[in-house]
């Protein structure tokens, strides 16, 4: 681990965002994943957790050997790589004083507190920018910080379903729509807030001033995934509705069961369908008139599934993948998390990385979502223990007397 210098300045990184100072006030996934993107490219990220329990992700796991420990939660360890964690109770004036001292020197604040906490924590974005004119404040919340429903309470399932994306795409038409797995709207909003915040920082290079950035999980899921399809409904009022494991107007785009799981098959050109028949050894049924165009085939989807079942059930995902790709047929396996983790291709790519954590030990984590040639992504330190950097930040950097740390702890400030 990098030792902090006596002045409380952390060593700057040669990575592309090493000159940035970021403060994170939030919980669970949205703000943490957003600042992780900054931290992993070298930015200094100070993560403020609320004492005494800290970030909710510490309680979620998964835990090695199913043994819960606030320092071994896999979700927390992944989301908080490279960050300097401190504990500060933002419901107290002293806590808010600490925050403002940090913001005096910061470029960016990312927050995802609940709507009911904005006032209590002193996090009104516009006020913060007025008090700290160089600061960019990016807020992530289920419904956003402005608009008629800005105060609504929401979790990932709320914002996901509110967006309309599940109802229109995911699940069977006669059954309830399905949320995107693993809190996707939190991750998705975070991955939008990060470039939006960088844009505001780039603007600051010209204007000299910060500004606010507001990201609403639900509406932005709509915009990004469904926005481009909007004209049809706007013009006709005809609703789009989910259609299960395949599309209804063209065959194939479908999931298909095979010997050891499922594959996804998509053929938009007839040449691809012909090649897919060749992969199956050119069965006679493939020559039927009714199967010659993807729109016609869609009317016989169940029949086609049955006709292919024997062949599919006697081949594995990998066999089908290999044979299909050899003929440029867009068929891919539905990998389980085990198959992703053990993928030889991802190993060649160096995608998974091993991080050594003082309590959790050696942990294998998903790694870089991109590879830069000059300023590479890197994990320089593991996720912080609760309050690990209180001394460096509060004492060395902000000047609180070292002997006050116990008092700050006893009085619930840290």
């Amino acid at each position: 681990m990098d030792p902090a210098s006596n002045t409380g300045e952390f060593p700057t990184s040669p990575a592309s965002l090493g000159h940035l100072k970021v403060v994170e006030v939030g919980d669970f996934i949205a703000a943490p994943f957003c600042t992780k993107l900054f931290a992993d490219l070298g930015a200094e990220v100070i993560k403020i957790e609320q004492p005494p329990a800290g970030d909710t992700a510490r309680a979620y796991g998964p835990f090695p050997n199913d043994t819960p420990d606030a320092e071994s939660s896999g979700l927390f360890l992944y989301l908080n790589t490279n960050k300097y964690g401190i504990t500060v109770n933002l419901r107290t004036p002293t806590g808010q004083e600490i925050l403002h001292k940090l913001l005096d020197q910061a470029d960016l604040l990312i927050e995802n507190v609940e709507a009911t906490q904005v006032e209590a924590f002193g996090l009104d974005a516009q006020s913060l920018v007025e008090r700290h004119p160089q600061l960019v404040v990016a807020s992530i919340s289920p419904f956003g910080r402005f608009g008629p429903k800005a105060g609504y309470r929401g979790y990932a399932i709320t914002s996901c379903h509110a967006s309309g994306v599940p109802n229109l795409n995911t699940g069977y038409p006669d059954r309830e729509p399905l949320t995107f797995p693993d809190w996707q709207t939190h991750f998705h909003a975070a991955a939008n807030a990060a470039p939006a915040a960088l844009l505001a920082l780039l603007a600051r290079n010209r204007t000299g001033r910060g500004q606010t950035v507001d990201i609403a999980e639900g509406p932005i899921f709509t915009t990004q995934l469904m926005g481009l399809f909007s004209c049809f409904f706007a013009d006709t009022g005809i609703p789009r509705v989910r259609t299960g494991h395949r599309t209804s107007i063209s065959y194939p785009y479908t999931l298909l069961r095979c010997q050891d799981g499922s594959i996804e098959l998509m053929a938009l050109e007839e040449r691809q369908w012909q090649n897919w028949l060749a992969v199956q050894g050119d069965p006679d049924w493939g020559k039927e008139e009714i199967f010659q165009s993807r729109f016609q085939r869609a009317k016989f989807a169940d029949d086609l599934d049955s006709l292919q079942a024997d062949w599919l059930m006697s081949h594995t995902k990998e066999e089908i993948f290999r044979r299909a790709q050899a003929r440029a047929v867009p068929a891919t396996p539905v990998y389980t998390v085990a198959e992703v983790a053990e993928s030889p291709h991802l190993a060649e790519r160096g995608y998974f990385v091993e991080v050594d954590h003082p309590v959790a030990g050696k942990v294998r984590l998903p790694g870089a979502p991109y590879q830069f040639t000059e300023t590479p992504w890197a994990i320089r330190r593991p996720a912080p223990r609760l309050g690990e950097y209180n001394r460096e930040v509060l004492v060395a950097r902000l000047g609180y007397p070292a002997e006050h740390l116990p008092l700050l702890r006893r009085t619930g400030i840290i």
Partner: protein
Amino acid sequence: MGGAGTKLPLTGLRVCDFGWVWAAPALTQFLADFGADVIKIETSRRLDLTRMMPYFLHRDVHPNNGTLFHSLNRNKRAITLDLRRPKAQTIARRLASLSDIVVENFTPRVMRTYGLTYDDLCPLKPDLIMASLSAAGQFGSLRDTVTYGPALGGLAGIESLTGYLGEEPCGLQIAYSDPTAGMIGTFAVLAALEHRERTGQGQYIDLSQWEATTSLIPFSLLDYLMNGRVAGPQGNREPAMAPHGCYPTQGENRYVTIAIRDDTEWTAFCAALGYPSWTADPRFADGYRRKLNEDALDEKITEWTRQRTNQDVTELLQGAGVAAFPSSANDEFFNDPHWQARGTWAKIDHPVRAGVTIAGVPWHLSDTPGSIREPAPLLGEDNETVLSELLGLTRSEIQDLADAEVLL
């Protein structure tokens, strides 16, 4: 607040966009919305799929009528080049050398074939920033994987998690990895730009849509990495919360989601319902017990929601501080005043037709907001302007290229 005179943050930046369909076009859309001059390079020999997918204006199948294209490519300029031809490749290289950023999302051999890789372009523009958003990365045994966006989720592992509890995966049924790669790619490109503004150094970004998407499901991955567990579809359930689900309400295709995190919210929920006797069942007395008896709990809640509209449930429960909201159908989110107030959609006049509905500007920056200034380009619309103004070609030189079928 920003206004008509506000300079957009990326004014003066030029982007050479070889992208097609969704991933790279989504990335360059963000850049264009915030002021970059994005020049999209297309070919009529292999039209961008979004030019040829319904919904078409005037119900007329034509490359200028595709509304998906209209949304993704507003604010951009477009030229046509048949990159199989050496003269087209030369023009493309010259354009790239006059650009700050190059973006593409082909399988890796395509740009190699055209002589347009970062290694080809860097000598012409040493501080170039280039980003490739391929399916599986620029190297590795599966780098040449042929696939469409919706199926990339299968490689990434997210499809295996999507389905009803205990059933076979039914998939997201949308090309989730495309916009995912687009926005993560935007972050990467802007980070490279930050670095270049400080150091003058450009670089190359190899982004695998597979890896970008896998980066969004750490919980399930880690349960395997730590404990060997292979997660399957969880329906609408969550590892900690109960109730947590999507419940049917009155009306056709009308549902509401309800999620309750702790005993405080549970008590508020029970109070809002008027404390029906089942809420006092000891099987539901704390979060652990609610999770263990989730099936029974969901049954009781479903009986209650079935008798109400999703709007009534939402109002009642939000009023009590409980997270409830419709699982919005097409008309519900489209007509939601909150979605409208947030500019989720925009309307633009296009040469083909007035009043085309497209996605709004996705990010709300208070002082330097993005904007939709120009409709999506017609096929080859900017050939003359770009070739003459940027590359200094004369009218007759341009005509020669057209005659030689370079500008197709």
